[in-house]
Symmetry: C2
Subunit: 218 residues, 2 copies
């Protein structure tokens, strides 16, 4: 069955693989390829080729047996699915070292994400410029986010300020929050929170290391 532009929400694991597919396809296009096989995509991600084909089928892009899939169409469809066909303006709240790192990270351009304002509670930072972005006081979140019609907030404040800042972003009309704190934010149903939890990630790694060691010399 070809669902074509069904435009419904896609399975999360599929979505998570799209950026890696995109990276590889762009590389291959730069090298002159116009078509790419599910085997090539799968090899790059370390997954089974059928899985790659399923992920592609979700977008309704047909492939040609013996040739593979049209690279350009794949890129366009994946970018559309991810909302990366337009630039998304974002507001960063919290200009500590992690906030600095995110503003300075060049990789977001590829994902059409652009941090256009930054906020911090520290008066010493206010007015300063971080990688071309001016730091404003927290009290201006409402006014500026609303005026710039920003839909995405990036939260890199200390844990104890997280809920309060999230509320300010939501009140200003943000529709999604990229949460780098370890607080479970409470927001209205129509706002989406995506958390990057370093403790979670580290837990998986250290559990695996600790466990291997135990089984090797018990």
């Amino acid at each position: 069955m070809n669902e074509g532009d069904r435009h419904g929400p896609l399975p999360l694991p599929t979505i998570r693989r799209y950026p890696a597919y995109l990276r590889l396809i762009r590389e291959r296009m730069a090298a002159g390829d116009e078509e790419i096989s599910s085997a090539a995509l799968a090899a790059a991600l370390g997954i089974d080729p059928v899985l790659a084909r399923k992920d592609i089928a979700m977008m309704g892009i047909p492939g040609r047996p013996r040739w593979g899939y049209p690279a350009r169409e794949l890129v366009e469809a994946m970018q559309r699915a991810l909302g990366w066909d337009n630039v998304t303006d974002a507001a960063l709240v919290g200009c500590g070292s992690l906030g600095h790192a995110l503003v300075g990270y060049g990789g977001f351009a590829e994902q059409h994400l652009s941090i256009v304002v930054a906020f911090d509670a520290n008066p010493a930072l206010q007015g300063q410029t971080v990688h071309g972005v001016k730091v404003r006081p927290m009290t201006e979140i409402g006014r500026l986010v609303r005026r710039l019609r920003i839909r995405l907030g990036i939260l890199t404040v200390p844990d104890d300020a997280a809920q309060e800042c999230a509320a300010a972003l939501v009140a200003a009309g943000v529709k999604g929050i990229w949460n780098f704190t370890s607080v479970q934010l409470s927001v209205p149903d129509d706002v989406i929170v995506q958390s990057v939890d370093l403790a979670q990630s580290l837990a998986v790694l250290s559990h695996a290391i600790a466990n291997r060691q135990r089984s090797e010399r018990p």
Copy 2:
């Protein structure tokens, strides 16, 4: 069935929830509580209480009907499962802005992770001190990591240096790599890679935002 100290690898979703459980239990202990119910744990994480009970059953800690689970025992068992009962020394490779942010991040102390050396290819950084950690040239990875018996490497270099640095860490005896690049590292079977992929996380968020918008005004 009570599996007790089975010490086998636990399901990943369970492991990922342990840090959040730990955070809450420590808070409640600080407030004087000595027992905690599965309902309290579940509420803090936004999950079903049975799921919390299953996660606890994995460690073989019995609870008391009408009382809950013994807080201290939970903390000890979870820390043991995560390998957080001892301090883990780590080496950081790549002192760009993200590397700086990680060295400066205070939260790792809670997880008994300690960054004890840092490396960078930039001669201008070498010899400088970042939050008390001296930056060394890349060429010393082998010697120092081996001498300090470091088992965990943190990779925060540009993508094109990632595989090379990973190989150096592995050659020096590292057993796990916390990978902040977007490269799929190839390492021997006995080395574990845990990746923090910001593009993946952002993809989930922007897909959700883009999708809601489409369904609201189609």
